[in-house]
């Protein structure tokens, strides 16, 4: 079923919307949550919470890309769950955060919008391959080993690319007058 048809079901308050959403995006949302949480039962709860959040938000929200909308919710909920369980600073989460410290040691609250926009502009300038590696690491929180396996590169090579991109991001932010 097309996204717009599924969204129409949400607007009609038909529970079929959830079934169609799960059928079309369930596997990807589960994979995303499981990749971040590294725990099946947590991931399954996160999927249910994602559907509930979507059900409560649509309407009035009318996402132009239902998939991206759901993935964003699932990622946020997964990170929230890690945070609540105090697990964000352990395991892979701790490694990801350590790496991001190279970009930002502090984030001024009044600059959050600017930073998000600057990150998007930075990503736009990257090659598709590099951008994907960056997104897998800092959006999906995948391990270096997983990214290397997918990209067909050695882990050292992936680390190198990501390290350069982090430095590049920091420079890009500074050029835009954002000092972190």
């Amino acid at each position: 079923m097309e996204d717009r048809e599924i969204v129409a079901l949400y607007f009609a308050r038909s529970e079929q919307a959830i079934r169609e959403t799960d059928g079309k995006y369930g596997r990807q949302v589960r994979n995303l949550a499981e990749g971040i949480l590294k725990n099946c039962s947590d991931a399954e709860e996160c999927v249910s919470d994602t559907w509930l959040r979507a059900w409560n938000a649509i309407p009035p929200a009318r996402p132009s890309s239902l998939g991206a909308y759901l993935f964003r919710i699932a990622r946020n909920l997964s990170i929230d769950r890690l945070r609540r369980k105090k697990a964000l600073k352990r395991g892979e989460g701790a490694l990801v955060l350590d790496e991001l410290k190279e970009v930002a040691s502090r984030v001024p609250e009044d600059a959050e919008g600017e930073i998000s926009a600057a990150i998007s502009r930075f990503l736009e300038k990257q090659s598709k391959e590099n951008r994907r590696m960056f997104l897998l690491r800092y959006w999906r929180m995948e391990t270096i080993a997983e990214i290397a396996r997918e990209a067909g590169r050695k882990e050292a090579s992936v680390r190198m690319v990501l390290s350069r991109m982090r430095k590049g991001l920091r420079v890009a932010l500074e050029k835009e007058g954002i000092w972190l």
């Binding site: 990807q28 890309s65 964003r72 964000l88 998007s120 994907r132 997104l135 897998l136 997918e150």
Partner: protein, 417 residues
């Protein structure tokens, strides 16, 4: 805060990048250009003794790519003689390997006619049942679709689970259909009216590499209804055409309960009836399977453990020259004991720490048990050194087991907690 906040802000990237992050990785097979393809295919003709890691089939089984298969593994690999053919459209089986109850086939399909063909298969007919586990395709190969030159070659390693005899002659079938319905760009228009084949393809990627079916999820519309949506999540190769269109569903119901062989043939017949595509070519390749890699037990007595409301029972701990397999099951002591359960386990093979596996918590899945199998690495006697199991409740481990083999060098296996 700080880095944590930045991680959070990463979530605000545009939808397009989120979609990009969630795309299934395109599995790069080999360059589609004929010259490069010819170079790649030359490798297939090399003898088994040196085939080792160039083997696509062994590359599939040894996915991590870090280990070199043992001579014992290679002994079970059968290379097919490559017959010279002047045909514009061809299918051949390159290698196969029977690992006890798992059959792996590596094959290549080519279409140099300049017109697209939809390939379906491979399907197998022989003594016993062959359940597909991975690598069966339904995809368009060759020619041009909506201005995109499609790869003229497609190849996969297909994995079957063999039930029953499994030995003796089998017939491997591949089908090629000529599309009859018009291809339309699903991103531009939502097709209505006569049957059309709607595409949702990243045309930029198709020109340079053969990605196999992952890049070509197709959708079929009829009378404005999507009658095929398994490919829409970007994960599937299937042009399966059921559950969405009344007439199609009624017709499809004739096939769903039949064995895979009939089902796949039924799909192709149905496409023809509904005016999507017609059968253009069919190949039947005869193979003879011999059970070389026999499974042997790694433990005289299989261990089991008390986990409170349930009992964890190891039901299989075996290996062949090719793979290790661990199967275990949680047996409830009372009804409803598993509803909230979940677990993780790790297997250490030859000292290597495999990725932890997650276990789902529903009763049905638990009752079916879990199976873990992986390729046997390398050059010495393969062995499972340890198995760790954590049973979780709300994410926190409530029971941990570490099972260690007492003497990995000894044929007599003694598992200890």
């Amino acid at each position: 805060m700080k880095a944590e906040k930045l991680l959070e802000l990463m979530g605000n990237i545009p939808d397009a990048y989120i979609t990009e992050a969630m795309e299934k990785p395109a599995r790069r097979r080999w360059p589609a250009g004929r010259a490069l393809l010819a170079a790649a295919l030359m490798l297939v003709g090399v003898s088994a003794a040196v085939a080792g890691f160039q083997s696509r089939l062994l590359g599939y089984i040894f996915r991590n790519g870090d280990e070199h298969p043992t001579p014992a593994v290679q002994a079970h690999l059968v290379h097919m003689e490559r017959e010279g053919t002047a045909e514009d459209v061809s299918f051949r089986v390159d290698e196969f390997l029977l690992d006890d109850d798992r059959l792996y086939l590596t094959w290549t399909a080519e279409n140099h006619t300049g017109k697209p063909l939809i390939f379906t298969g491979p399907i197998i007919e022989g003594e016993g049942e062959f359940d597909i586990r991975a690598g069966m395709i339904r995809t368009t190969v060759g020619g041009e679709v909506l201005g995109a030159a499609l790869p003229e070659t497609c190849g996969e390693t297909t994995e079957f689970r063999v039930q029953g005899a499994g030995e003796g002659p089998v017939k491997v079938t591949m089908l090629a259909q000529e599309p009859v319905a018009e291809f339309v760009d699903n991103k531009v228009s939502s097709p209505v009216g006569t049957p059309v084949i709607a595409w949702n393809v990243d045309l930029q990627q198709v020109e340079s590499f053969c990605y196999g079916f992952d890049v070509h999820p197709s959708k079929i519309f009829k009378d404005g209804q999507l009658v095929d949506d398994d490919g829409t999540d970007g994960w599937g190769p299937w042009i399966s055409t059921h559950f969405c269109y009344d007439d199609r569903e009624a017709l499809w119901s004739d096939f769903v309960d039949k064995p895979l062989y009939d089902t796949m043939l039924g799909e192709v017949e149905l496409d023809e009836k509904l005016g999507y595509a017609k059968l253009a070519k069919r190949w039947d390749v005869d193979l003879t399977l011999e059970k070389g890699a026999r499974r042997r037990s790694l433990a005289e007595e299989l261990p089991s453990f008390d986990l409170g409301d349930y009992r964890l029972v190891v039901t299989e701990l075996t290996q062949t020259d090719v793979t290790n397999r661990l199967r275990f099951q949680a047996v409830p002591k009372r009804e409803g004991a598993f509803d909230d359960g979940a677990g993780e386990f790790k297997l250490y093979v030859n000292g290597a720490d495999e990725e932890p596996r997650c276990l789902e918590g529903s009763g049905a899945i638990l009752n079916d048990g879990w199976t873990f199998s992986n390729a046997t690495p390398v050059d010495d006697t393969p062995r499972i050194a340890a198995w760790e199991f954590k049973w979780l409740n709300d994410g926190e481990p409530i029971r941990e087991i570490r099972l260690t083999r007492n003497d990995a060098e000894d044929e007599t296996v003694d598992w200890k907690l």
